[in-house]
Symmetry: C2
């Protein structure tokens, strides 16, 4: 099958000293993939003539489409545009349309006077097709050479995204007869990557050439992604769906979701669909679980609040954990997290509550309760379940693992609980 390959080249010193994390490439890869274009390589180079030139030569070699981002800002202008001019054999000319747009932006939107640098932004190589950048002053530029296409875009994320969506993708869809690419992702928990692979070995071998399986392990969860590529959408959809169903059935016992979701998104769906509310009582995670839940838009619908009871006195005052329990059992104990859940349910008045208490390290461990020991409790007015964990990593990772595993325990509890109330 004839596949259309794209390379993404990102220009900027900031990427090479690690000052900036490249989120543009990931977003571009997603939309290109959706469009049926296979991204074969991503390359980042500095703001340097030779480095950019060599990258262009190399990627023009291997790809049909080259997407170039960065190097177009008012302070970075000096290299990329002249280089593209020379590379495609043209000269810089003032583009009246772009100039009008830049003038408009400064007069009507920025309310700032234009300076020489801004006018220079309206200069484009006379050998490219100008792509209108509705969100900024630097236009996109479309070049063609030896039946290859190169598109130069500004690096500012929302400017790049606007150009990709409105101009680049539609133009590419016209230009190429592209295959359909379909993805289906599920997430498992509580089973290691290698065991999972062992369990679905035969399934994996049974996959047709058009469908690929990928493992993406993360925080004790493993995401499994099926990718199908072809030209017959219906046929392909049927094929991937039947394989995906097969996979789900095989992994029912460890399946968390059949969507490409984070654990907190799974929780959000469960709470929303059941019209239930949640409160958190966090000791060792120090608010991280509440943060994960509230980082999602609309979370105020189901997350009412939380208490970060870092100090034992706060556990007593705000969650009514008894001094006796703290004295006899300790702050990191089943009895304490049970009382924390009860306290949270009482003070925040929610359907469910989740509580965690543990030792994240590097200090605070003992022989009896080593660093990484965590007690989790989740419950409602009728029942509370608990689980003990032992994580063996450094502080930040222990916090992340505690959060994801606590949310997973909550997930199971909500599901069991919903089922039992239905029956």
């Amino acid at each position: 099958m004839q596949i259309t390959k794209a390379s993404i080249i990102t220009i900027g010193d900031e990427l090479l000293i690690g000052q900036v994390i490249d989120t543009n490439s990931a977003w571009m890869a997603q939309v290109l993939n959706k469009a049926g274009i296979t991204v074969s390589r991503r390359v980042a180079v500095g703001d340097e003539w030779n480095a950019i030139w060599e990258a262009l030569d190399q990627e023009m070699e291997s790809a049909d489409i080259i997407l170039l981002t960065g190097g177009l800002g008012p302070t970075a202008d000096d290299i990329t545009k002249p280089l593209l001019c020379e590379y495609f054999g043209g000269k810089l000319v003032l583009n009246q349309g772009v100039l009008n747009h830049v003038t408009y932006l400064f007069e009507k939107v920025y309310n700032r006077p234009m300076i020489e640098r801004n006018i220079k932004q309206a200069e484009v190589p006379d050998v490219c097709t100008v792509l209108h950048n509705a969100n900024g002053t630097a236009p996109g530029m479309w070049f063609e050479k030896d039946r290859k296409i190169l598109v130069s875009l500004p690096g500012v994320p929302f400017e790049m995204k606007g150009l990709m969506t409105a101009e680049v993708i539609p133009a590419l869809l016209k230009k190429f007869s592209l295959p359909v690419i379909l993805h289906r992702t599920l997430i498992t928990a509580g089973i290691g990557e290698s065991f999972l692979a062992e369990r679905i070995k035969e399934f994996e071998n049974s996959l047709p050439a058009s469908i690929r399986l990928a493992y993406l392990p993360n925080y004790g969860m493993v995401r499994l992604r099926l990718s199908a590529t072809g030209f017959e959408r219906e046929e392909l959809t049927a094929a991937i769906e039947s394989k995906f169903t097969e996979l789900q059935d095989m992994l029912a016992d460890v399946l968390i979701t059949n969507q490409d979701q984070s654990m907190e998104e799974v929780i959000a769906d469960l709470l929303r669909s059941g019209h239930k509310t949640l409160a958190t009582a966090e000791s060792c995670t120090g608010g991280y679980i509440a943060h994960l839940l509230t980082a999602m838009p609309g979370s105020s619908k189901y997350f009412l609040g939380g208490i970060v009871s870092y100090d034992n006195q706060v556990k007593q005052d705000l969650l009514e954990v008894t001094p006796e329990t703290l004295y006899t059992e300790g702050a990191v104990s089943e009895a304490t997290v049970r009382q924390m859940v009860q306290g949270a349910l009482k003070s925040i008045k929610t359907d469910y509550a989740l509580a965690v208490s543990g030792i994240m390290g590097p200090d605070g461990g003992s022989d009896e309760k080593p660093v990484g020991t965590v007690w989790v409790a989740v419950g409602n007015s009728r029942e509370i379940i608990t689980q003990r964990f032992r994580f063996r990593f450094e502080r930040r990772r222990n916090i992340e693992l505690t959060a994801v595993n606590a949310l997973n325990l909550l997930r199971k509890f909500i599901i069991d609980n919903t089922v039992s109330t239905i029956n």
Copy 2:
């Protein structure tokens, strides 16, 4: 001056379909830079033999050091290791040291039985030096060819970081006569990058060739980093220190810290040195501020707890915000955050309290209070100060900006307060 160049190659289809954002490369670039190694290119390719092989050829061309991450998990084993074997002309052999470590991990840490796949992780090319991966089963592998060095590392971030810090960087420092690179960083707040640049233009021009100045704007703060490169450590140290002192004096009024610290580390130092305690009352940041503070080891010394009052009823019940205030002023108001501070001081009994309430988006905005509107209050038993902010980004960024600016207001309050009590 002879510079040592590195290329970073990241292997994984997930990067090419944009399912995962590559944070590894940025981190690696940072530590390589600190070590005096210049990262010249970053390349991402899929889990495909030819793609990896070609990338190796290309980067071996242009760089002295190639760092390869990914493609080493128990399920991905099948390509990278055999390829490296063939590329460097060796064969796979079982490494007893690695096998012992893998066995240990399964018996003592994972408490899971080992299977064939896991044992395969202990197979390494006989032409490489094995680097011990304390955090996982996939070892690092160090190859040398034509006076070039290639290091293969697992893609799991904390495994890669552990290997880089403990094994790779020290070995590279031994191998190459790298220049001394000294960095001195200070952080400013409340002044834009361009104004800052204007203010220190002459200072910047006065810098010797051996010292570079970098602007690292981030969340309304700007980090200024002086980097001195050379071979005479003493001379270089003297030069950068005198310039750094000069810079600090010029920026005294906007200086937050003369260390390369996060805002929460600055707060931690202030609280620790003054033997003071802190409580948080968060609405719109949903526990993120408490998380930032508690992510640091030893934070229980000064952070006693927090209340995430996402729902208005929680603001009333746990922070004693009056229904009248919520009705007349609204949850996002100066009056509300003032009462939140009072409530937090009362219920958590700390020296200082911080409160935030705002609209993080995408929904919930109004003409009067658009998305991004935030009220922050900080105070102690004697005084409360407030500040209104307006952020214009998407939800996650607005949350981060709120946190850092709230902590900065707290920082100023603690300093003013400490001074006034000393006088």
